[in-house]
Symmetry: C2
């Protein structure tokens, strides 16, 4: 069954790993973290433990770099049985500061696509994470002017999107979300009878992964790159 | 000269220390932090250094509890000349977690005042800090339904308010901001020709303090408690 996009009035774009590189920097940070703790555990065990601490802290800390750094510090204390050195804690803080100062690396075609689509649709940015960090990345990206509205969400579940649609004062069928995460950018929209297009990024955080059965019977399109949007919405 | 409030259509309320207690928890946390490091420095010196680290980190970390915890960890490393124990770092992380789990303690009269004013005005919440933490506090406060719109800002400078007024689609003279911080809730609004009412809280973070000369000739009202708003806006 073909999907009908003729009702679309507003397109929401996810930011991290949809418009610009993000997960790659987290992976690099995890590797640095594992190197710092290599006296205590294997890289694999360190990865696992860090993920566990992050997920445990998610309800309290939310998403973003600051939450990630706090979880790295906590994990370092635990994995070393409270023997980790102050210099290592300092190095962990610096991993976080470096992440916050990374340049914004736009994915291929982003600016062309936004330029064309923003003439025909209201374009919004809908992202989760640290408020300040996301605002800064948007600023550095040079893309601010294409967006009619910027929405930084504390999470991307059905309820968050439902509030967003209310706030935008549009019907679900008039909204299309575009992003790299099935869990955050696709499934909640399908649940609300809105539209979603999935553009996978080569790296996905384990927390964003979904089981095959969760997407069964869900009605969305997957495309290989942002440019393919133009063929669909031309 | 009396201020004319007859044009007001939208009232923005600050949250922390305007609707509920906040700074008190930060002060308690600072005292606990000074106790943890009492082997290395005097409480006074520890306070000063923590403030310096926080201000240095502000452009990178922004406001809120997570930023505060990261700055406490950094400050502990520096003040102890990298001799601080892992147990102390752990205790610092726990200070932060406790802060994020504090109950929301409403200031006197808040609910009555919002109930009355929300019948006559569009009421919005305009606060800065951690996105997730502020959303959680609002939820816990039971006040969500009084607000037409929630705006969590990465900062509260002229530019942030200017965008907010655009977004609300109202003229500056139609907006009144109510809050405890001259720097964040009053002066930027006066600069934009909007209105502001100041309700001092007994404790103010040093960063929010302003010099007497900065308020000279600025046209705003100061009231002792939220209930006094009803006399002004009846």
């Amino acid at each position: 069954m073909e999907i009908d996009y003729t009702n679309i009035k507003v397109i929401g774009f996810d930011a991290d790993d949809t418009l610009w590189v993000n997960e790659t920097y987290f992976r690099e940070a995890e590797m640095e973290f594992a190197k710092l703790l290599s006296n205590y555990e294997t890289p694999n065990k360190i990865d696992q433990e860090l993920f566990r601490v992050e997920i445990d802290n998610l309800p309290l800390y939310g998403y973003g770099v600051k939450a990630f750094v706090l979880s790295m510090v906590e994990c370092a204390l635990e994995l070393s049985n409270y023997n980790v050195s102050s210099k290592t804690i300092d190095a962990i803080l610096n991993i976080g500061k470096d992440m916050l100062e990374k340049p914004v690396d736009l994915l291929e075609g982003v600016e062309d696509v936004l330029k064309i689509l923003s003439k025909k649709y209201r374009i919004i940015l809908a992202t989760k994470g640290d408020l300040l960090d996301q605002e800064r990345k948007l600023q550095k990206s040079g893309l601010t002017d294409y967006f009619h509205h910027i929405e930084i969400l504390s999470d991307k579940k059905d309820d968050n999107y439902s509030k967003l649609l209310n706030h935008l004062d549009i019907k679900p069928e008039e909204f299309l979300m575009v992003g790299n995460s099935l869990k955050s950018d696709v499934l909640p929209l399908i649940n609300l009878n809105a539209n979603a297009i999935h553009i996978p990024f080569h790296t996905t955080w384990a927390h964003e992964e979904v089981q095959k059965r969760e997407t069964n019977g869900k009605h969305y399109k997957t495309i290989a790159s942002l440019r393919d949007l133009l063929n669909i919405l031309g």
